[in-house]
């Protein structure tokens, strides 16, 4: 199962915890947890490419939410107006399409996680929350298909660097 899937399962449990009107605190934690499920899904694959086992957990801590957002925001632009030498283009059109969906969903989930954690005026409904979890699930499905592709590897690298 692993931590990412466990977090996603936990988020689902939080949405159905209250039988009648759901507590906002549970919905907020569900949204935040769904984002962290996706965050861990992605950062888990970064260290997997690093060959020194003792350094893998330290490697995972290099990932930063802000830089990950910037890398994800750049994906639509990189695909709309690609540079000829962009390594992301070594992937198939289907893989690039999946990456686009993942990057856009990552941004959406991160934005919602910040609202859930810090915007005290915001409120959610149960269906709204379940739908956000479905968005997180779609990232899991898409990532499973492309995680070993050049596009996914380049995306992970871009999340660590300042220049892409």
């Amino acid at each position: 199962m692993g931590l990412p899937q466990d977090l996603l399962d936990q988020a689902e449990l939080l949405t159905v915890l209250d039988k009648k009107r759901p507590k906002q605190a549970n919905l907020r934690r569900a949204i935040s947890t769904a984002y962290y499920a996706v965050f861990h899904l992605l950062i888990e694959d970064g260290p997997n490419n690093w060959k020194v086992p003792g350094q893998q957990s330290r490697f995972a801590r290099i990932f930063d939410h802000g830089r990950m957002r910037q890398a994800a925001e750049r994906i639509p632009k990189r695909l709309a107006k690609p540079d000829a030498g962009d390594p992301i283009l070594k992937s198939s059109p289907a893989q690039l399409d999946a990456l686009l969906q993942i990057a856009e969903s990552f941004n959406e989930l991160q934005r919602e996680r910040h609202r859930a954690d810090y915007d005290t005026a915001a409120q959610w409904t149960r269906d709204e929350c379940i739908e956000i979890l479905k968005l997180a699930e779609s990232v899991f499905t898409g990532w499973a298909k492309i995680r070993k592709s050049p596009a996914a590897q380049e995306f992970l690298f871009a999340m660590l660097s300042r220049d892409r």
Partner: protein, 103 residues
């Protein structure tokens, strides 16, 4: 950005949202507005109210992923930058929890 440019973008977004609504009988209402995100940047929020039948567990993911992709794709094709946040509620939820942003 000038006021005229802002209005042009808003007009494009309105066209896109209205077109998607017209093409999807599951949509009761669609609203959009710009809000500041956690980085201080304007973020486009599109709030879609769905017929209750469309939010059944067996349909929810298929309905919402199709609508979200239609919106994302149309916005990209119009060269409107930034990923929209597309939120969905059922019609009964919007009646149960009134909110001007969803009205």
């Amino acid at each position: 950005m000038t006021l005229a440019e802002e209005r042009a973008i808003e007009s494009k977004i309105r066209d896109i949202v209205e077109t998607v609504q017209r093409q999807n009988p599951d949509i009761v209402r669609a609203r959009f507005q710009f809000e500041e995100d956690w980085t201080g940047q304007p973020a486009l929020y599109i709030r879609i109210t769905l017929r209750d039948a469309a939010t059944r567990p067996s349909r929810l993911a298929a309905v919402t992923s199709a609508i979200r992709e239609e919106l994302r794709s149309a916005l990209r094709n119009s060269e409107i930058e930034g990923t929209p946040s597309v939120r969905f509620r059922s019609q009964s939820e919007t009646l149960d929890m009134p909110d001007p942003k969803w009205a």
